[in-house]
């Protein structure tokens, strides 16, 4: 018996190696304590900011310029917008990662070059992150560290946009000083000093004009301070940067090629997103433009009205412009119109060994694809692979910042400051006009002749400065479908434009129409009591007042969204609502004005 007790005791002792055998460390994951030390590690960690923050479908942002068959709730307004319980827009995950990265890098990174670049990059993205937050929510809490669970920032009230902007300026100035001017890859897929300057120019212009038009002032900085900062940042890119307006001397092609080129044109794209067929990185721009099934994306009549004539005069100054039909109205317009909207005789660009040209003429308007008759043509891929005219099969690179925008930001900042000179315009807007062979904008003339059309309720009533009006026209035309218009309306305090009727092409009444003048009938419109034309009469057969509505009943502009009510509440809709759960968890967060979140405190 003794023997067995000994065996038992020995066996038990063998088990008592205890803690050592219970130490199990992760074998497929790294420890943060030894990470954040070099270029590779920091680059891997910051890569996700590009993916998470940069907009991957700028062509698809709805506004008074660009609309879909089922408009977004944001555009429709009214009861379509409610206060959500939680919202992805109020996500702070990426900010925390930036702060984590900055904190660990401080302790772990011994490579000064790596530290310089990636601390700059983190702060570039922190400014980018906060710009999104300020645009949506106005005042928001500022967090520049990894908060603990009982950190007071979690219960903090919102910081004023002045506080946030001041921090954003510190961040972006740091980024400008520390980010490299280029990367060895030769691509602009990573943020450079120039991207930081472009971001600064963008958000300072936003803030300056937002404060100006919403009449917000803080003692620390007047709105003009931000406009000046914007102009300075843009000016630095113009003076020091390697960029230029992309041009090969083909005014009817260059603008279109810029957006449809498979690979970024680094002449003009300051930061862009890489798309690639081979690795299945694709977006939907081509299908959005060409396929009936992608929401019937359409540009609007009033937007098309903004394009000048090729001689520099205004379309809306022409006799009878209001009742001009499509084939007639698009003649002799700013060449950018034909590279933005599908016009009669439209062609797809083709690519031949890197050289771009137009392919043989395709049909013009495709009446069943657009709601308005104005079909988009920008960002459509070169036609060498029709199999890719499908959902999510486009792989032309998309811009985040481009030089053209920087020029326009400069011009607008100066115009809003009221000190824009002819030289400023020649360095900016007129460079863009040169690309498309348009006459130059003359400051004195513009100041003396503010466009009455742009002062109507459909645009900017109350803006008397002719230069501001012309800068806004140029911005609308040049940056069409690049995702700016909604934000522009917000900062100019022109939200009500979203609730104006959405119009398409002009039709004089019941009849059969060859819209694009190609000899093929596009629309057959019949009225009450009339027999329905046979299916072969035209591509679209529509009954007036049932299938299709005209702005003045029996004639006028096509009103495709006739049945949908749009509204914009000026006391509410310039800012997004703070989610209910967030206010419940932090009572110090005030709700934005006008939003009923059901909470009674």
């Amino acid at each position: 018996m003794k023997r067995y007790i000994v065996i038992l005791a020995v066996a038990l002792l063998a088990f008592t190696a205890c803690d050592d055998i219970l130490d199990k460390k992760p074998q497929s994951k790294l420890s943060p304590e030894t990470y954040f030390t070099n270029m590779t590690e920091l680059q891997l960690f910051t890569n996700s900011f590009y993916n998470n923050l940069l907009p991957k479908s700028p062509y698809n942002v709805q506004s008074d310029q660009y609309i879909k068959a089922n408009p977004s709730d944001l555009v429709k307004g009214g009861t379509n917008r409610i206060v959500p319980n939680t919202s992805g827009n109020w996500s702070w995950t990426d900010l925390r990662k930036m702060n984590t990265c900055l904190e660990y890098m401080e302790a772990n990174c011994k490579d000064p070059e790596a530290y310089k670049i990636y601390s700059g990059l983190c702060r570039f993205f922190r400014a980018y992150f906060y710009f999104d937050k300020v645009r949506m929510y106005g005042d928001v809490p500022w967090v520049d560290h990894e908060p603990g669970t009982s950190d007071e920032v979690l219960q903090a009230p919102r910081d004023s946009r002045e506080v946030i902007m001041t921090h954003m300026l510190e961040d972006i100035d740091y980024a400008i000083e520390n980010l490299p001017e280029s990367y060895s890859s030769g691509h602009n897929y990573r943020a450079t000093k120039w991207a930081a300057l472009a971001l600064k120019a963008r958000f300072c212009l936003y803030e300056g004009t937002y404060r100006k038009y919403h009449d917000i002032s803080y003692p620390e900085h007047p709105y003009t301070y931000y406009l000046e900062e914007s102009a300075k940042a843009a000016d630095r890119i113009m003076k020091e940067g390697p960029f230029k307006v992309y041009s090969t001397g083909k005014p009817n092609l260059d603008y279109a090629v810029l957006f449809s080129s498979y690979d970024e044109i680094t002449d003009e794209y300051i930061l862009s997103i890489n798309f690639d067929f081979g690795t299945e990185l694709m977006h939907n721009a081509t299908a959005a433009a060409l396929m009936n099934s992608q929401g019937r994306n359409s540009l609007t009549k009033k937007f098309v009205n903004c394009y000048l004539m090729t001689d520099g005069t205004r379309f809306t100054d022409k006799e009878g412009w209001q009742t001009m039909q499509f084939a007639e109205e698009v003649v002799d317009r700013d060449p950018r119109l034909g590279q933005t909207v599908r016009l009669p005789g439209y062609s797809r660009i083709t690519e031949n060994g890197g050289a771009y040209s137009y392919s043989p003429v395709l049909e013009g308007v495709q009446a069943d694809i657009t709601l308005t008759g104005y079909q988009m043509a920008k960002f459509v891929m070169p036609e060498n692979n029709l199999a890719n005219d499908k959902f999510d099969r486009s792989y032309n690179d998309l811009p985040v910042f481009r030089y053209g925008e920087v020029l326009l930001n400069y011009a607008e900042a100066k115009a809003e400051l009221g000190n824009i000179t002819q030289d400023d315009v020649d360095r900016t807007i007129n460079l863009l006009r040169d690309r498309v062979n348009m006459p130059h904008l003359d400051v004195a003339y513009a100041k003396a002749h503010p466009d009455p059309y742009l002062q109507t309720e459909d645009f900017y009533p109350g803006v008397t400065d002719g230069m501001i009006l012309e800068v806004r026209r140029e911005r609308a035309v040049e940056l069409a479908q690049e995702g700016f218009r909604y934000d522009d309306l917000m900062r100019w305090k022109r939200g009500p434009l979203l609730a104006r009727p959405y119009y398409g092409i002009y039709l004089p009444g019941v009849g059969v129409y060859d819209i694009d003048g190609d000899g093929k009938n596009d629309i057959a419109l019949y009225g009450d009591g009339q027999t329905k034309p046979s299916a072969s009469t035209a591509t679209v057969i529509a009954k007036l007042g049932t299938d299709l509505f005209l702005s003045e009943g029996t004639r006028g502009y096509i009103e495709p969204l006739h049945n949908i009510t749009f509204s914009f509440d000026e006391g509410r809709d310039y800012l997004y609502p703070i989610p209910i759960n967030e206010r419940s968890l932090n009572h110090n967060l005030t709700q934005n004005p006008g939003w009923n979140d059901g909470l009674s405190f």
Partner: protein, 1092 residues
């Protein structure tokens, strides 16, 4: 030929057996007494299987017996069977029955040992193999549903191979935790055990009985013991059992199949909500649909697809009444199960080997999904010498589930549930597949059934889920001297999940005459994915038990031991696109796309854990009257940091067998066992992820990002959420009181238990933090929970004589219930923005009071002008409340329907309207056997159990969810409010009311809250055992043929509002993945059991 003969012989004997042969008879009378000279009532006295009687209240009987010597067999519950020879001349006998010591000595498997049932002080329920014999469910867990009070089984899917999940005594912890399942002492998966191999299952419910498992047993332990061989003096017993049958859905699959009414309904809803139709059909089209509305099949004069020029394009227009569900899915589908076992042994060696095979064909019609399961077990034990015994137990489980689909089988069902409305036919007239209808038919780019009908029929998207599980335990038992037993064992378990998933281009044609089109991304991407997860598990136990009785009164058992176990998981995954074959699926066949790029991705991963524990138990009883037990375990785990990883979990329990007291002598004739029990103990829960206390950086591939550096997508690294390093054991303190009562010689058995379980230091997301925190809140040991419940079990088992044959019958009823309440949580202001608050009953549903629909526009206008309804009216067209809208009551009278401060004390107009936990769970078994026939019925159900249908419950909400559902409930519009239908259940037709956060049906409210309580005919079995005498001639010792039906019918209030939702399947369907799902199944099976 031989078989037919045998069968005829059997049949003849069966018939013969039913007639008693008349012969000369005589009378025998007598008395049956027990050892205390008390009369035994209800004892069966028989001379043969067909001739017998039963004793009366005085224990007396009279029976006609054949002339000559006869042997009386006297049989009574709770006593040993007695055979008495009555010589030819004797007509009076007295029979003394001895109490059945087997019954008294019935043992129950407990942790690291066995115990006499009568001496138990903890809460343990045992299920014997017999109770499982008739069940034809495919997994052991499903079979246990309703058989053990307090053991709750829920099933989350009806697909082949799906299994139940186990829970003991209700809500365990807010991070969820399951009981520990040990199969012959080693951690295993209960659903991989062949039910036919099971000898017994012990369900350990309280802390006292579970304390020897310490850290893993916080929420109960289930001990599965498999069958072993017995000494049969070298003779082998071979058993075969086979079943064949079919399964079909428990719920209706009779959806709306009339094109006209589908379009009418869908458009009415969508137009009201969005201002435009969903199916853009004009009057002519609607006329055509109406003309065909009664055509169940296509009428030659009225084709379902017409080719016509529309919008200048030649296209197909669809006017079908197509039954998409039954085109894609079968209702009835075959199943079969087979089992063979052989067992036996001699004095020094015993063996048991078995094999099982289960094949279940699923519902997918064109290329059915098939689940196959194999089980093998081999168990041997040898007596090495007088002191030592060695045993080895090997089990193997293998299953494959192959199905056509995308990623998993539910995907095919869920995604086919959109846009496949009855007007469409799966194929165009030219034989090509319909995937996208011509532009302008639907309001948007919608793919019919998301192309899943094409995937099913083409049969190229073959997916296989393979699971293998191998376990081997070697055990050495040493008994050096009487009373001491030392056991050491070692288990190795290897299990692996190996999945293959393939997708292929989906071919279709949108317009007549065009080239074949292919959908080539997402579900149509040409891709093969393979993943392998391999687990290696090692466990060893060493423990010793010493048992002795001192002075004939003091009985003592001491057990002590140690346990170490570790598991390592290794994951490997690889994905490749553009394979060179559409028929073959192997990563060797990965090719390139038209760009010349090869797309391949690899992934890995591994993790491991280890646990070490020292445990002991002491049992003491004084003359079997006063019982005392104490046990405990000292446990360490790798899942917590040093300094926080060790915990001690003690328990104590006592029992008093009142029926053993001298003063109870007189009552013992009626009450043969009465015991009171009480226990108290603490257990730990280490069921947390492996490296929770370590913060880590992991590297992943982007799904969609690249910097143009290299030929693949870019990678990124990420940091895990912040954590607390001082995490430690979640513990549960449990109090249990029980009463066992056996009466009338154990004919009646009653057990009652009441318990309180305090789950403490629950590992939760701690404080819910504002999003500004920027990460998931770190887990902390911060929350407490109290669960209170009870369990009752009442059984009666007896037999009477009927027509001279014993008629046995039994029933058993079980009932259990519990309530759980949060007793600690960091949410001082009790806001609903955090998951819990102190005082919260788990499962409570807060909602608005809304019982009525407005009946006139005036009523609606008047009400909405006095009460601000803007919080709930986002989807009301134009923001104007009308007749047929739901009237939300302003219960706080502030003139605004709102959520107040979103706290318990100021909930606005909400109150608690129900509780989603299943309450009052019960089971009821009834069985009879007579003359070789046996019938058993098992009913199971729940009391109150509420559910507010979630946004994606299409089967409930129909187009109130989304108006493009493929499977519209039949005649749905009849239940929708209208001026001609003012007492309808649902409000006026507006799409998305339930789907969208802004809709009036989205908010929980009293009118649409569903009670899911149900009563289910879980199992009915009818069998016939052929007379032994008859089958002996063909070499069989036992043969039974039977029918068994599982889940045959259910009764539930939900049936009133939906024929498509099984009350057990009404889960939280909150994502598009759940638009439709694999239906819950019932089965009908015919089987035979043969013992050689």
């Amino acid at each position: 030929m031989k078989l037919t003969k045998a069968f005829a012989a059997i049949l003849a004997l069966v018939l013969a057996g039913s007639f008693s042969l008349s012969a000369q008879t005589r009378q025998v009378s007598g008395t049956v007494l027990d050892t205390q000279q008390q009369p035994v009532i209800g004892a069966a006295v028989m001379t043969s299987a067909t001739n017998g009687t039963m004793t009366g209240s005085d224990g007396g009987f009279t029976l006609s017996v054949p002339a000559g010597d006869v042997t009386l067999e006297v049989n009574c519950m709770g006593y040993e069977v007695q055979k008495v020879l009555v010589p030819a001349g004797t007509s009076r006998v007295q029979v003394i029955l001895k109490e059945d010591s087997m019954l008294l000595n019935e043992t129950i498997v407990v942790g690291y040992g066995t115990q006499k049932k009568v001496n138990l002080t903890g809460a343990i329920t045992s299920v014997e193999s017999k109770e499982l014999e008739n069940r034809s469910a495919h997994s052991l867990s499903t079979m246990l549903q309703g058989s053990v009070p307090g053991l709750n089984i829920t099933t989350s899917s009806g697909n082949p191979g799906s299994t139940g999940s186990l829970n003991i005594r209700g809500f365990t912890s807010i991070n969820g935790a399951s009981p520990l399942v040990l199969i012959d002492g080693a951690v295993g998966d209960i659903n991989r055990v062949n039910p036919n191999d099971v000898e017994s299952i012990s369900v350990i419910k309280d802390a006292a009985a579970a304390a020897v498992y310490g850290a893993r047993a916080a929420f109960g332990v289930i001990l599965v013991t498999t069958k072993s061989g017995a000494d049969s003096q070298g003779k082998s017993v071979v058993r075969y059992s086979g079943r064949w049958g079919w399964e079909e859905p428990t719920t209706s699959t009779d959806y709306e199949t009339r094109g006209y009414w589908s379009v009418y309904t869908i458009n009415k809803f969508r137009k009201a909500s969005e201002g435009s139709d969903y199916v853009l059909y004009n009057d002519t089209d609607m006329q055509r649909l109406l003309a065909r509305v009664n055509d169940k099949v296509e009428h030659p004069d009225r084709p379902w697809v017409i080719e016509e020029v529309r919008n200048g394009v030649n296209q197909w227009l669809y006017y079908g009444n197509f039954d998409w569900w039954h085109y894609m899915f079968n209702d009835q589908h075959p199943v079969q199960q087979h089992n063979v076992s052989m067992s036996g042994g001699n004095k020094s060696m015993r063996y048991f080997v078995s094999g099982g095979f289960d094949r279940e064909t699923g519902i997918i019609k064109a290329n059915p999904d098939v689940f196959k399961k194999f089980n093998l077990r081999s168990k041997v034990d040898f007596d090495i010498n007088k002191y030592m015994r060695f045993s080895n137990n090997t089990s193997f489980y293998g299953s494959t589930y192959s199905y056509i689909g995308v990623g998993n089988v539910e995907n095919g069902i869920a995604y086919s549930a959109a846009h496949a409305i009855p007007i469409f036919t799966p194929k165009n007239p030219d034989g090509s597949w319909l995937y996208l209808p011509a532009n302008g038919i639907l309001n948007g780019s919608y793919a019919v059934g998301n192309g899943r009908h094409i995937v099913f029929a083409e049969g190229k998207n073959i997916n296989v889920d393979r699971k293998t599980d191998f376990a081997n335990t070697s055990e050495l038992t040493i008994k050096p001297f009487n009373g001491l037993t030392i056991i050491g064992n070692f288990t190795y378990r290897f299990h692996q999940n190996r999945n293959t998933n393939r997708t292929e281009n989906i071919p279709y044609r949108q317009y007549p005459g065009e080239d074949m089109q292919y959908y080539i991304s997402g579900a149509g991407l040409d891709e093969l994915s393979e993943t392998i997860d391999t687990y290696n598990y090692y466990s060893s136990n060493l423990y010793a038990t010493y048992e002795n009785t001192f002075a004939d009164a003091h009985h003592l058992t001491v057990m002590a031991g140690a346990n170490y176990e570790t598991q390592h998981l290794k994951q490997i995954g690889a994905v490749g696109d553009y394979l060179l074959s559409t028929e073959l699926s192997d990563l060797d066949l990965v090719g390139a796309n038209s760009d010349g790029s090869t797309v391949m991705k690899v992934s890995g991963g591994q993790s491991e854990y280890a646990m070490l524990g020292f445990f002991g138990r002491l049992n003491y009883d004084y003359k079997g009257r006063y019982l005392f037990e104490t046990s405990g375990r000292y446990d360490g785990t790798s899942r917590f940091a040093r300094g926080h990883r060790w915990g001690f979990f003690p328990s104590v329990s006592v029992g008093w067998r009142i029926s053993e007291e001298p003063f109870f002598d007189n009552a013992r004739g009626t009450i043969n066992n009465l015991k009171l029990r009480a226990s108290l103990g603490t257990l730990g829960n280490q069921n947390v992820s492996n490296y929770l206390y370590v913060r880590s950086i992991n590297v992943s591939d982007f799904a969609h990002y690249s910097f143009g550096e290299g030929a693949t997508v870019a990678k990124y690294s990420n940091i895990s959420a912040p954590n607390s390093t001082d995490l430690t054991w979640e513990t549960s303190v449990q109090y249990n009181a029980g009463l066992d009562l056996d009466m009338f010689n154990s004919r009646l058995q009653f057990t009652g238990e009441a318990y309180i379980r305090d789950t403490k230091h629950m590992l939760t997301d701690g404080v819910e933090l504002p999003s500004v925190y920027g990460a998931a809140a770190p887990k902390q040991n911060t929350a407490d929970l109290r669960t209170k419940g009870y369990e009752l079990s009442l059984a009666w088992k007896d037999q009477v004589m009927l027509g001279g044959r014993p008629f046995g019958y039994n029933f058993r009823a079980t009932l259990s219930d519990y309530d759980s309440e949060i007793t600690k949580f960091e949410n001082e202001e009790k806001t609903f923005a955090k998951s819990y608050y102190v005082g919260q009953k788990i499962g409570e549903i807060w909602g608005f009071v809304a019982n009525d629909l407005f009946q006139t526009d005036e009523e609606a206008a008047a009400y909405s002008s006095s009460v601000d309804l803007s919080y709930v009216n986002g989807k009301i067209p134009g923001g104007i409340w009308k007749a047929g809208d739901l009237k939300y009551e302003d219960i706080d009278g502030d003139g605004i329907i709102g959520i107040g401060a979103n706290t318990v004390n100021d909930p606005g107009d909400r109150k608690i309207i129900g509780n989603s936990l299943p309450h009052l769970q019960y089971g009821f078994t009834f069985g009879v056997d007579y003359a070789g026939f046996d019938v058993s019925v098992f009913l199971q159900g729940t009391g109150n159990h509420y559910w507010y249908p979630s946004p994606y419950s299409f089967a409930f909400w129909g187009p109130f969810s989304q108006p493009m559902n493929s499977f519209l409930p039949k005649n749905f519009i009849d239940d929708v409010w209208d001026y001609n239908n003012t007492d309808a259940y649902f409000p006026r037709a507006v799409a998305y009311l339930a789907y969208n956060g802004k809709g009036q049906l989205y908010h929980n409210n009293t009118r649409y809250l569903q009670n899911l309580r149900y009563l289910r005919i879980k199992n009915v079995s009818i069998g016939y055992s052929l007379p032994k005498k008859a089958i002996k001639h063909v070499g069989l010792s036992n043969m039974r043929i039977y029918f068994t039906g599982e889940n045959l019918e259910y009764f539930s209030p939900i049936k009133k509002h939906s024929a498509y939702i099984d009350p057990e399947g009404a889960l939280d369907r909150s994502s598009s993945y759940n638009r439709a799902f694999y239906p819950w199944q019932k089965s009908y099976m015919f089987g035979v059991d043969i013992t050689f």
